[in-house]
């Protein structure tokens, strides 16, 4: 793993301090409500309308939500998390709104303030509820629109707001700028790992993240080793190396657009036909599935998560790995955004199989995998820590039940949560990155 303890501790300190860095927001209540309604109206679609029409209040979504399962607190029922949006829809948009106005009260600023905890702290938009709803409601996408509504009303939790502002205004995330990126590239070069930077033309543009730079530098090194081994034409951009999209995480859609377009521009500049996103669930969702919709057309390049790229190369026979099994078993944590929402169901498993490791699957995996409790920015919200830890305990149990020797994941955010949450719980399960595992075992 080789994660310096000091870097981890500093990261925890910096995350804890985020709450003080957000710019104070003052907005009259009427304006908050008006802005939220404007976003709800603007972003409404036929699909979302179907979600809001179909709910029968059966409560089944609660029974598979890690936050409800861990606490039995009825407030965390997923269906309840988009109640203000539902109220708005029933009063303003549904074809039978003229009747509903008699019975359904309008949304108030207090509703929006009360819903902040439900929409941000206690929902990772993991989408497990999407897989059980008997009506087939896309609950997670509906909660995402709630986030957009709250972001427009400037009701994003301070920590997320702080990083969103930092990225929007300075182009950095958690203080990581291009100088630090270049310093890391130089450091790795001294260790014999070559990263081509700012090539004018390259087939592949590789992105990283502030998490990687601060904590998981071996993940960047590993990516470089794999690409160099494959002999492909690749580069990283010193101006656009971070795939994180805090606009996407916080529901700040204009910022999401800006961050996505920044990456698309960087890919255009070097004429890349492929963009590789690091081990990061939300970054994959924002670019792979959101990029074309932000741009208004399909970009020229194709987007792959690094785990997806590895899986494809293994399948094509271009990437060969050493068999390191020797009776060692692992279990795989499926990142909700990459796997359930992103469709990367088999790629990481291909790599594990190629390494000859025994894969011990968790009870909930693939499309029904349990979230680790920290996705979609929940990791950074300080006050959510006790709740996050409770949800995490469900994950720990599923991992422990496999009896595997170690846990593999291909999401830095999940990995950070496994490390910090695990440390708090005194959990000793080794946590490994898929990329690092693959990079350490490339066939000579």
């Amino acid at each position: 793993m080789n994660i310096p303890l000091a870097a981890m501790e500093q990261m925890n300190v910096d995350v804890a301090a985020l709450v003080t860095k957000a710019q104070p927001t003052e907005m009259p209540d009427e304006e908050r409500v008006a802005r939220t309604k404007h976003v709800f109206m603007k972003r409404m679609s036929m699909g979302l309308a179907m979600n809001l029409e179909s709910c029968i209040n059966c409560g089944m979504c609660a029974e598979v939500c890690h936050f409800y399962m861990a606490t039995q607190d009825p407030r965390y029922a997923p269906v309840r998390k988009f109640l203000p949006l539902r109220r708005f829809y029933r009063r303003e948009l549904t074809p039978i709104r003229w009747i509903n106005r008699l019975f359904v009260r309008d949304i108030r600023a207090d509703d929006l303030k009360d819903w902040q905890e439900l929409v941000y702290d206690s929902c990772t938009t993991c989408g497990r509820c999407d897989m059980v709803c008997p009506m087939g409601i896309g609950i997670s996408e509906t909660v995402r629109l709630m986030r957009e509504g709250l972001a427009a009303a400037e009701l994003v939790p301070s920590e997320l707001q702080a990083v969103d502002e930092e990225q929007r205004e300075n182009g950095t995330v958690l203080g990581i700028d291009s100088n630090q990126f270049k310093a890391l590239v130089a450091e790795l070069a001294a260790e014999g790992v070559n990263i081509p930077v700012d090539k004018q033309k390259a087939d592949i543009l590789v992105l990283s993240s502030a998490f990687n730079l601060r904590l998981f530098r071996n993940s960047i090194a590993g990516t470089a080793k794999i690409l160099n081994k494959l002999g492909v034409d690749w580069t990283m951009s010193s101006r656009c190396f971070d795939a994180s999209n805090f606009g996407y995480l916080s529901g700040d859609y204009p910022a999401e657009e800006m961050e996505t377009l920044r990456i698309i521009d960087a890919a255009r500049e070097c004429d890349a036909s492929v963009v590789i996103v690091p081990e990061c669930g939300h970054a994959y969702m924002a670019l792979r599935w959101g990029g074309a919709n932000v741009l208004g057309r399909r970009p020229k390049f194709r987007t792959f998560a690094i785990s997806e790229f590895i899986g494809r190369e293994i399948q094509a026979g271009r990437l060969r790995l050493k068999t390191i099994g020797n009776g060692k078993s692992v279990t795989l944590h499926d990142s909700c955004q990459q796997v359930r929402h992103g469709g990367l169901l088999s790629e990481a498993r291909m790599a594990i199989a190629a390494l000859g490791l025994e894969l011990r699957e968790m009870e909930s995996r693939g499309r029904t995998a349990l979230c680790c409790g920290a996705g979609e920015g929940v990791n950074l919200i300080n006050r959510a820590e006790p709740l996050r830890q409770k949800a995490f305990s469900l994950k720990m149990k599923e991992v422990d039940d496999t009896g595997a020797d170690s846990l593999v994941t291909s999401c830095d955010n999940c990995r950070y949560n496994f490390l910090t949450g695990g440390a708090k719980a005194g959990w000793e399960m080794p946590v490994e990155s898929l990329v690092e595992l693959v990079a350490d075992n490339l066939e000579d």
Binding site: N51, G59, Q72, V132, G136, G138, R288, R297, S364
Partner: protein, 217 residues
């Protein structure tokens, strides 16, 4: 005109008309909404198959999810199957459908139909009580839920009363039962009972949405 004449005449005609017009308006209204084309490159092109598959497979979610909702799942099946069996297989109902449609089909023996109706009613009452007691259900339940339950339960109760001659004036209780059912017709388009149609649409939609990403929902 007696109450029964009204129930079988204008009451039936208008309630059906309101139901059909209301449901059509509600469904068409949703389809008139903004359709956002997803421009991302699909992982799977089989979105129609994915949607159709989910309409069926969502009736039996993955085991690791189903184990958490077994009670709701089983009771949901019992009451939906019991309700439609009572509506479609009770001999007096079949006789009514025959008078309208001109053809009939085999029904359940009346005592068996009554047992089915009684079990369905018992499950519905139990689910209503659960709505009032269970913390999650209490928190998410709306007036719509209770009104829908009351209308359905009373339709079942009046139907059982009429078929067992528990009420001294058969024609009156029959008229009340039919009016109750007509109230249900009128209520459907304005309530959550609109899921009568929406379940197909939303299941299809989520199935195709995830299929596009290569995930079987």
């Amino acid at each position: 005109m007696t109450l029964l004449d009204f129930a079988l005449g204008p009451g039936l005609k208008w309630s059906l008309l309101i139901m059909i017009a209301g449901l059509t308006w509600r469904v068409v209204g949703v389809f008139l909404g903004r359709w956002r084309r997803d421009l991302s490159r699909p992982r799977s092109e089989a979105v129609v198959q994915g949607g159709l598959r989910t309409i069926i497979t969502r009736s039996a979610p993955a085991r690791e999810l189903e184990k958490n909702i077994r009670f709701q799942h089983i009771t949901g099946y019992i009451w939906h199957i019991g309700f439609f069996a009572t509506v479609l297989l009770f001999e007096p109902h079949i006789a009514f459908f025959e008078s309208v449609l001109g053809f009939a089909w085999p029904g359940l023996p009346s005592h068996l139909a009554l047992v089915v109706a009684a079990i369905t009613l018992a499950v519905l009452v139990m689910l209503t009580l659960r709505r009032m007691i269970h913390p999650v259900m209490r928190m998410i339940t709306s007036t719509d839920d209770y009104v829908s339950l009351i209308i359905i339960i009373s339709a079942m109760v009046t139907g059982i009363m009429a078929s067992t001659h528990m009420f001294p004036r058969y024609e009156t209780i029959l008229a009340v039962h039919i009016l109750n059912v007509e109230l249900l017709f009128i209520w459907i388009p304005f309530s959550k009972l609109g899921h009568l149609f929406f379940w197909l649409l939303s299941r299809y939609r989520i199935g195709s949405y995830f299929e596009r990403k290569g995930v079987k929902a």
